[in-house]
Structure formats: structure tokens, C-alpha cells
Amino acid sequence: MGASAALIEVHDLTRTFGGVRALDGVTLAVRAGERRAVIGPNGAGKTTLFNVLTGELSPTAGSVRLAGRDITRATTWQRARWGLARMYQRNELFAPLSARENVALAVASRAGPYRLFGSSGAESKMADELLAKVGLAGRESSAARALSHGERRQLELAVSLAQGPEVLLLDEPTAGMSPAETARITELIASLDRALTILIVEHDMDVVFRLADRISVLHEGRVIADGAPGQIRGDVRVNEVYLGKAVTVG
């Protein structure tokens, strides 16, 4: 393990809620630049895993490393500073602020907030570029709450990208989107810088197979399979607990 090039190493991670083991000894290693999908049925522990990775939940046992650094006890904001960003499943935006201001706050986080005077012209310009990149050109001045659901997902992505992360956690990026919107955001994610490490939780298998280099399957808080998309497609157990029920794998 020590010499591995893994950017994220999750070791024997366990999280219990009362008597329920949401995560039960999860071990994962994600290389730099890898695009890893985490799939599994509802309640498999995917969102809990993300919450533990970002530090919004602390694990009952186990450890998390980012670029070799033990971050198990680090706060959420520290992890963000060290390069971890998250696109939330349920949008976490600044509702009354404009799309531009939403993204500018993310851009500004790098320079820190303790700048009492001075304007944010440069940040606004970067924000506009990012908004154009995610397909929100022309919507810069609209309040986040005035955007459509699909647009808000795009904004959510822009906000997480604006942090300039090394690792991007995508929590069901296509949740609630129309097929056309899904296709668009999928291509957008596919076109992101290959150096960016991506962990993605997604129910839409087409999206998963389009984006992932490697897939981990969670079931009842455990990793039951871990491999290249081709292997996972052929895995009998995976098909039993998950794929076989929900989707026809083409």
C-alpha cells in the first residue's frame, strides 16, 4: 500500500447508525486521474461513503487518506482546501444569489475570505467562464432559485469545479434530469480534464459505463466487487444483487 500511487485510500471504513452498519469495512484505492464509479442498490452506503470522504460524517472505524495524508479526522473545509470537491445529490446552492455569485464564492475560496476591501472582478470573470463551460452562458445573473432543475445541476457542477479540485465526488450528477439533459451533462463530465480524479455515484448504468474506468459495487455497506467495467458486467454476484434486477446490461 505504502508505495502505491493511490490518491484516495479508504481502509476498512465502518460507519454505524444505531445498530445499522451503513458502511461495513469498506476498502478502496483510487489512483490519480482515475474515474471510479461506485454503484449499488439504494441503502448500499454510497452517500454515507461520500459523507465520510468529505468529513461531513465521521467514521466509526477505519481511515481515509488523500494523497498519502491521513485525513480521517480532518474537517470538511480542510479536506476541501486539500483538493476535495463534491457535487451534491440534492443541490446545495446559495438560493438567492446569482449563478455568477454562486460560482464566484467557490473560486474565492482558494484565496480565502479575509479580504475586507477590494472587489471580486477577477472571480466573476472566472465564474462566467466556468458557467459557459457547463452550458449556463446567458444565465449568469439569474438567481440560483430561479433556475430550472437541470440548470441547477449544471450550476452545482460548476460550483464544485470552481474550487479547482484534484478529486471530484459526483453524487448522482444526473438525478432528476431529462434524457437530453442527462446526455449533455454526461458528455460534459466526460470532457473534463483527464488529470482530475473522479468518484461518481450514479444509478443510470449508461452513464456509469460511459464515464467509469473502474467500478466498485457496494452492497449492504461492503464492497462486493471491484474491477474494470467489463469485469463488473460479467460478475454473477453483481448481477444478482443489483444489475440483474434494475437494468439490462447491454
Partner: protein, 318 residues
Amino acid sequence: MRRVATWLAIAVAAAGLVAFPYWSAGWESSRFATTVLRDILVFAIFALSLDLLVGFAGMPSLGHAAFFGAGAYAAGIASQRLATSELAVTLAAAAASAALLALVIGALVVRTAGIFFLMLTLAFAQIVFAIAFQWTSVTGGSNGLAGVGRPDLFGIDLSSSERIYVLVAVAFLAIALGLRAIVHSPYGRALVGVRENERRMRALGYDTTRLRLSAFVLAGTIAGIAGALSAYSLRFVSAQDVGIGTSIRGFVMVLIGGAGTLVGPVLGAAIVTYIERVLSSATPVAETVLGLVFIGFVLLARQGLVGIGRAAWAQARR
């Protein structure tokens, strides 16, 4: 061109405000108007500082009087014990005391939000009040701290009521302009971010606890300056300055005027001070009027006068 015109208008208005006691000197009621305006401006500073918390950072403090009072007592005590009337010294003492107190209380309360924050700021401020009330040897207790000296600034005597007014007006303008810059700065935007979505702010890499603490200390320090100005103006510090009544008065000003704006607290300070100073001589139940007005705004116009104004403006433009 229009920008220049705007700034010119502001500069003229500012000069008019600062020079009020001089150009109004011919009026019969000039002296009374000057003291009322002075008190309005002191409370406008206080309300502005509270609005930084309540309106911008989303931290509804009901204990802001603790810092106003700390500043007032510190300025008064410093001038008496250090036997100096140098403004730079007493004002620095006021700001530092308020900042320190805000740091101590803030460290305990900034981890709480919403109603809990409100409750705890209220409770801690009331404890500060009780200490001020009971520590007679230092604060004068229930008799208050009388005979606070009027300051001078590097040899300029500020003891006349006109000059004290000028000091208050200049401080008000400086603080209002400073806050205007701050709320538009990256710092001010970050505070709004914390108000709107603290979870996202943490996920973006902001230490939101520290941000909230910094806002608490900044607002407390400005409130302390307002307290010192009040002590210079009235030459007296009352335990009530620290009391819940003062905290509530500030909160009412912010809410009636419009939280999260810079004009709102100033308007609110003017209205509340007017009700208390002018109406109270006409009716014995000024506080009741104030309470009813406040209830009305909470029920019907939560965005305050500025909100009403904006809605009317939007209506008119349609």
C-alpha cells in the same frame, strides 16, 4: 458622469450632515434637533454593526448590547482612571474591550445557529449586564457611571455639544462607508454565503466557524465604538446600556428598517429613536407603540421599510 454626480451628491449630503449644528444654529430647536440627530447616529452605528451579524451573516444576536455597554464603560472608566481625555486612548480602550468580550462570548456561541444562537447571545449578554449592575466599585452599579469626560483629539477640544456631534457624525460616515466596502468585499460575500448555506461553504473550503467568529468580533468592536460615542455624548453610562432593552432596541431597528441592507438599520435607528425621544413626551406608552410596530413588521413586512420600498419600486416600474 452619472457616477461622479452620485458621489458629489453623497459628499454634499455628508457635509450637510456633519455641519448640521452650525447651519441649523438659527433654528429655535437647533440644540434639541442636534441631540436627537446625534443619538440617532450613535444608534445607527450600533444597528449597522448588528445588521452585519443579523442581516448579512445570518446570526440573529439578541445580546449585542453587551458590546455597546463594554465600549461605553471602557471609554468612561479609561477617561476617569487614566485621567486622560485623549480620544485615541479612550476609544481604543473601548474598541479593544468590546472586541475581547466579543471574542470570549463569540467563541462559545458561534457554533450555534438560529434560535439557539439568539438564546445564548441573550443569556450571555444578560450575564454581562448583571456584572455591570453589581460591580459597583468599577461601574457605579445601578447609579451608572457619571461624569464621563468629553474627549479631545490630539489637543483639539471636543467638549462642546456641537463638536461632539461632529465627532459622532464623522464616525458614523466612516463606519457606514467602511461597512459598505466590507459587505461588497470577498469577506462580506463569504458572510452572505455562510448565511445562505453553511454546509456548502464548508464543502468549498471555508472555515465557517472562524468566519462567523470574525464577524461576531468585528460587529462587537463597532458596537463598542458606538457605546463609547454614547458615553462621550451623554457623559454618562447606565447599566441599561448593557441590558436586554438595548439589544432589543438594536434588533428592532434592524428589522424595521430592513435586515441585510445598509440603509435599513439607519432608517430603523431614526424611527425608533424618534418614537422614544419625541413620542415618549407625547404618550406614556411609547414602548407599547414600539412593540406593536415591531409585531406589525414581523407579521406583515419582514423585509422592513427597505423591502417595502423595493417592492413599491418594482411595482411602479412594471
